[in-house]
């Protein structure tokens, strides 16, 4: 009994570097061994998938990549999965960002990769509007005409010089929220709240959100109230979307590591508490 208590007490004094090594192994081993686990799809991700799936060829989605490399492991797989789904359905894609400069890099990297895979042409099937600072002012300005804010695309050419613009804007030549069939906000900060509070509430644009896990809980309120049609929360949200799409991407692979690290954290918390109880027991 005393020996067990002593061992438990010692385990509570684990060197932190050993814990780092254990976390590294718990992350790397499932990835290297390519372990697969069954993963039920969350209802909010299924709703998001269905919102994209309902779109018809020629419909338009506006994707806002409001995140940077620091949250890319969670949000970039969402972008790639949603783009794959949209391009598969021949939906037109407009891409923009409010997220300083990094959002643009992530967005262009993702859309170029997926467009190449589905043989989509820039200016005809998709357009990168670019980055504009101003957040809410940008959103309100776009309501009248996107050209108020984005007079040119990211490459510096006038928006109305592209065939995709003429096709979407139609006879009146004005592109605004009325032409958008679904807005996809990929968010790592507070911009997503404004998309919902301004563009959904005022202009009734249907939207889905893909958020980093840190901000996911606050977006559940918007999902529950019906303000957004679907929600992809963190790596799990991206993995669920990949599952619905029938692809095994980074998110699906990463979720096994996520599971093993969580098990390790739970064990370490239990061990820490047992060790503390043992220390008190010995007085």
């Amino acid at each position: 009994m005393n020996a067990a208590v002593r061992i438990l007490e010692q385990l509570g004094k684990l060197d932190r570097r050993l814990i780092y090594a254990l976390v590294f192994l718990a992350t790397a081993i499932p990835l290297i061994l390519n372990i697969k686990l069954p993963m039920p799809v969350s209802p909010e991700v299924k709703s998001a998938f269905e919102a994209v799936d309902r779109l018809k060829p020629g419909d338009v989605i506006l994707i806002s990549t409001d995140y940077g490399p620091s949250s890319a492991p969670e949000t970039q797989p969402m972008l790639e999965a949603i783009l794959s789904h949209a391009f598969k359905k021949n939906v037109k894609v407009l891409l923009m960002t409010h997220w300083r400069f990094e959002g643009l890099i992530m967005g262009i990297e993702g859309i170029d990769k997926v467009a190449k895979k589905y043989h989509k042409e820039y200016g005809k099937d998709y357009l990168v509007l670019g980055y504009r600072p101003g957040g809410t002012a940008v959103m309100i300005g776009m309501a009248e005409d996107f050209r108020n804010i984005f007079s040119t695309d990211n490459a510096g050419k006038p928006l109305d010089s592209y065939p995709i613009y003429k096709e979407i804007a139609g006879d009146d030549g004005v592109l605004n929220y009325k032409d958008i069939d679904l807005l996809v906000g990929l968010e790592a900060g507070s911009i997503g709240n404004f998309w919902i509070m301004i563009v959904n509430a005022r202009y009734k644009v249907p939207m889905i959100m893909g958020t980093t896990a840190v901000i996911t809980p606050e977006f559940f309120a918007f999902y529950q109230s019906g303000q957004i049609e679907g929600l992809l929360g963190g790596l799990k949200g991206a993995a669920d979307y990949e599952t619905l799409l029938g692809v095994v991407g980074f998110a699906s692979k990463g979720m096994v590591s996520q599971f093993s690290v969580h098990v390790l954290i739970i064990l370490l918390i239990l061990l820490g508490n047992l060790s503390d109880i043992a220390r008190r027991f010995r007085g």
Partner: protein, 217 residues
């Protein structure tokens, strides 16, 4: 060749940042400074190319008088903001107050938009979403239970922040319920935060073992 070089540089930078786990060291400091410097420089360039320059170009060459005038006003406000720069403390320290005008303008516009959008896009829809049927024939037991928890959660959490009356008896029970609901919310938020941080680690380790070491295909 360039791609391989890029991967090796990224791997070095990743390992250098992770070396902080074993304590502060010169390699970590070096990489941290590279990150801060390159981010700032890149940010300034993109902001100028993507925002400042296109606006100026369009605003100053347009034939639309209104747009031209607003561009000049924006430029003037922009110049006033420069009085906030640290260097102005040495050049003209008694003129730094001028920068308060553009800041006041931005704050005023921001506050106006935030108040309206919060009420219209957040408070109203969220309040309406709590008007749920507590007992409905067609609803499943889980839905009814979920609705009841939601309504009780909202009311008790709101009451937790009501400080104008001594909370004892039944009222203390409501406060306690509110506190428990808030704690559960914090717990869920913390769980999601852990998941987010682990995801970032997975991203970096996947890069190291996949793109760099080619242990994963």
């Amino acid at each position: 060749m360039m791609e391989i070089l890029g991967i090796w540089i990224a791997a070095f930078l990743t390992l250098a940042i992770l070396s902080f786990l074993f304590g502060d060291n010169p390699v970590y400091k070096f990489v941290e400074h590279i990150f801060v410097g390159s981010s700032a420089a890149f940010g300034v360039l993109v902001a100028f190319n993507q925002a400042v320059w296109p606006f100026l170009q369009e605003g100053l060459t347009t034939t639309d008088t209104f747009l031209k005038v607003t561009t000049y006003i924006a430029m003037f406000m922009g110049v006033l903001t420069l009085f906030r720069l640290e260097i102005m403390n040495f050049i003209a320290p008694n003129l730094t107050w001028i920068s308060r005008f553009p800041i006041a303008f931005v704050t005023g516009v921001g506050t106006g938009i935030a108040i309206v959008t919060s009420i219209h896009g957040f408070i109203f829809p969220q309040t309406v979403a709590t008007f749920l049927p507590l007992f409905e024939n067609r609803a499943s037991a889980v839905e009814i239970a979920s609705n009841i928890i939601l309504v009780i959660g909202v009311l008790s959490s709101l009451y937790y922040f009501y400080f104008s009356m001594e909370q004892k008896g039944v009222l203390k029970g409501i406060t306690r319920t509110g506190m428990v609901i808030i704690m559960i919310t914090f717990g869920a938020a913390f769980g999601y935060t852990v998941m987010a941080r682990v995801s970032l680690l997975i991203g970096r380790i996947y890069f190291l073992i996949s793109d760099w070491l080619h242990l994963v295909r």
